[in-house]
């Protein structure tokens, strides 16, 4: 009899969970016990875009999807995956849009070359200016 009651409870609980249609996300708002792992996870979460929001990282968003992603990140970090592995897994799923740290690909190299180009241009401008001065004096 006790088992039957327990069984009824279990099915009731299960169907209630199924009704929300959402997988449970235990680590959406729960930190990992190991501070080092939590630090690694939160550093990664701040660099992942909440896909349902406008300009927010998943660390900062209240959207349910961001919560699921946070939980995924924490669980995978706890299981021993490196942040880079998790990031690449998410990029495979959602594309480059998901990471705020654009990967170096043929499409992004102009972006990464730009800062170096700016500095070279600045140095060149400055050099030209001062050298001309020296020639005169």
């Amino acid at each position: 009899m006790r088992y039957l009651v327990f069984f009824i409870f279990l099915t009731a609980a299960w169907s209630a969970a199924a009704q929300t249609g959402l997988p449970p996300a235990p680590y959406a708002n729960q930190q990992l016990a190991d501070p080092a792992k939590e630090a690694a996870a939160s550093e990664l979460m701040e660099e992942l875009r909440c896909l349902k929001c406008q300009s927010q990282s998943i660390a900062d968003s209240n959207a349910p999807m961001a919560g699921d992603m946070r939980s995924q990140v924490r669980e995978r970090i706890a299981a021993g995956e490196t942040p880079e592995q998790i990031r690449n897994w998410l990029i495979d799923r959602y594309g480059n849009w998901v990471t705020y740290d654009p990967p170096v690909t043929p499409m992004t190299w102009p972006l990464w070359i730009a800062p170096i180009f700016m500095l070279i241009a600045a140095a060149w401008l400055a050099r030209g200016r001062f050298r001309r001065k020296k020639d005169k004096s």
Partner: protein, 645 residues
């Protein structure tokens, strides 16, 4: 009737702007000097009329006149008076009217108070100013009439976006707009000086107060915007390199560079072409900023197409202004002599380095902000560029820049020797090295960038005060104090940034009333959760008591607000400020078992970021007052001398 009066005033102002432009253009082109006298009163009348138009829009908002479409869309009769007032510019049409109003009033100010510039240059400047305004008048009157009536009249309005219902944000957009418009005035001066070939110290001195004023407003606007995002968005961040933030940062970077190069032009008659170029760039950046924020292109490249008329209009304006300015610059730059040259180790040399590094950072931010848009438009692939990119790319450049900032004011104009310089900055160097040593020894969690930033900030703080060393403090000019305070403010902000990014502690808990949370030296007790109601919202409020070490017990109450009119939720974080940092508590959702998500942060010295920003703006204000007073006294002296002779 008020709406119609406003619209008529706007049309009249637009007509006067056209007249102002025509008078200036014809006058200068055909040498009709009799036209020159007419342009000042026209500019003043235009400023007055557009101001009247804007005031009437404010009246409509304050009276909640629901027969006006703009009021219906952006206001509601039950809303605090402050937000009815601020709602006037919390929307597209209103903010554009505010822009053109500030612009018209700036033109009126130039017409009334500018006396030292050559008349021909002044007339050209006012004509250029009117030309820029005309684009905005056309934009308002053709595609975004703020006074449009609505029929049938709805019973009530739809309310203002709840996120904008905050005192800080009520005044954030106008502050930035004053900055943007100030840069447009600087640009008009540059156009005037280019056309009349009058690029020299007198032009620089006429332009400088406007650049300084614009820069002060931009600094305040960015500081306030950053603090608003920090406490209102509820995730404890103060800068996210979001495109909207970058849109306000880019004009600031350009204005900062311009501010320093205009000093070289005013004092040493050097960097002529470069200063004009920077004025063009600064104005272009403020236009691009407005375009990015106002066109909806940031949500997605495709959102732009949702309202193509408006977007295309701004884009066309952008093309005309920036393209025109660049073309004019290309045509006239040949006539602008580069001016006095100088040695590498000199005040001018440091200012050139400042300019080039600021331009490099500006370039990086520009590319990082616009590249994803370009990629999406060309290939349909979406890309995110965020903090990891911007910090890595611009952080090191910024550190070199602040190091030069410490050195620059200690250098002599024209020529200095590296040896005596090294002598002068030996103390800051020792302090920087000592701070670096201690930080490496005592801390574990700092990134290289924050480590260097914090150590450098210690040295800069001392170096920035050095220009006052051994000087007669009573005879030191006000603008020197301004520079010292502004540079010191940068050091203060830098400490705050490095500290926030290195030492922030976070705790997330699901707590029931009665539970205790510990965070660093804080003890938080979650006492109860209660419903509360405001004028146009209801909220759940968590009552908590907090204690730092064994100090006083204080009550805080973070809220989760629900706005009836917009069906949106905002979280009102509870902030508790101590001298050494801020406690930041956010109330999240509850679960079925009566537990509530509570997110807490302890952010050591985070407030220094904004205090630094305020110091920078204060320094700018002192410099502006000092310069204006000196200019006024010199004019009085000259008048007196003429009278006596």
């Amino acid at each position: 009737m008020i709406a119609e009066a406003g619209l008529i005033a706007l049309w009249l102002a637009a007509g006067l702007a056209l007249l102002q432009f025509a008078l200036g253009a014809v006058g200068v082109r055909f040498g009709r000097e009799d036209y020159y006298a007419a342009i000042r009163p026209v500019a003043v009348a235009q400023g007055a009329l557009v101001a009247i138009s804007f005031l009437l829009l404010i009246v409509l908002f304050l009276r909640s006149d629901m027969s006006v479409a703009l009021v219906v869309k952006n206001s509601a009769s039950v809303k605090p008076l402050l937000y009815k007032f601020a709602g006037t510019w919390g929307n597209h049409e209103g903010s554009m009217l505010l822009w053109v109003t500030v612009m018209g009033m700036a033109g009126a100010c130039i017409a009334l108070f500018e006396r030292s510039l050559k008349v021909k240059t002044l007339v050209t400047t006012l004509a250029a100013q009117a030309f820029i305004s005309l684009g905005f008048y056309a934009f308002l009157l053709v595609s975004s009439n703020p006074f449009e009536r609505m029929f049938p009249v709805p019973p009530d309005g739809q309310g203002l976006n709840p996120l904008l219902q905050d005192p800080g944000l009520a005044f954030h957009p106008p502050t930035l707009y004053f900055g943007y418009v100030g840069l447009s005035v600087a640009f008009s001066f540059a156009v005037g000086a280019m056309i009349t070939s009058d690029v020299g110290p007198a032009f620089a001195r006429a332009m400088r107060p406007w650049v300084l004023g614009a820069w002060i407003f931009l600094t305040l606007g960015i500081t306030a915007g950053s603090y608003w995002a920090y406490y209102e968005l509820g995730w404890g961040g103060w800068w996210f390199w979001d495109p909207v933030e970058n849109a306000s940062l880019m004009p600031w970077l350009a204005a900062t560079a311009l501010l320093h190069s205009v000093t070289v032009l005013a004092t040493r008659d050097g960097l002529r072409a470069w200063t004009v170029m920077l004025a063009v760039v600064a104005f272009s950046m403020s236009m691009i900023g407005t375009f990015l924020v106002r066109s909806g292109i940031l949500t997605s490249v495709h959102a732009f197409a949702v309202d193509p008329e408006r977007g295309s209009f701004i884009l066309a304006l952008l093309a005309i202004y920036i393209g025109g300015a660049m073309a004019l610059f290309a045509l006239r730059v040949g006539t602008v002599k580069e001016g006095t040259r100088f040695e590498l180790v000199s005040r001018e040399g440091a200012l050139v380095a400042n300019n080039l590094l600021l331009s490099a950072i500006l370039g990086i931010v520009f590319v990082g902000t616009l590249y994803p848009l370009v990629v999406e438009a060309l290939t349909n692939e979406k890309l995110s560029v965020g903090p990891p990119y911007f910090n890595l790319a611009s952080g090191p450049v910024a550190l070199i820049l602040v190091a030069i900032m410490a050195v620059g004011p200690l250098l002599r104009w024209r020529r200095d020797s590296a040896k005596t310089l090294l002598n002068r900055i030996s103390i800051p160097i020792v302090i920087t090295a000592g701070a670096l040593f201690l930080l490496v020894l005592l801390t574990t969690s700092m990134s290289v960038l924050s480590l260097l930033g914090m150590a450098l900030a210690a040295g800069i703080a001392v170096a920035s005060l050095a220009p006052l060393w051994k000087r007669n403090l009573r005879r030191t000019p006000l603008h020197t104090y301004g520079m010292v305070i502004a540079h010191f403010g940068i050091a203060v902000a830098l400490v705050g940034m490095a500290s926030e990014s290195s030492f922030t502690e976070e705790r997330l808990v699901a707590a029931k009333p009665g539970d205790e949370i510990t965070l660093n030296k804080w003890k938080l007790k979650f006492e109860a959760i209660e419903p509360v109601a405001g004028p146009n919202w209801t909220a759940l409020e968590a009552r908590m008591t907090v204690q730092y070490e064994n100090g006083n017990i204080t009550e805080i109450a973070p809220q989760n607000r629900m706005f009836a009119s917009a069906q949106t939720q905002t979280s009102e974080a509870a902030l508790l400020t101590r001298w050494n940092g801020q406690l930041y508590v956010v109330l999240g959702d509850g679960d079925a078992e009566g537990r509530w998500q509570i997110r807490t942060w302890w952010k050591p010295f985070v407030t220094l970021i904004w205090y630094g920003g305020i110091l920078v703006a204060l320094g700018g204000t002192l410099a502006l007052v000092g310069r204006l007073r000196r200019k006024y006294l010199q004019r009085k002296q000259k008048e007196y001398a003429e009278l006596v002779l």
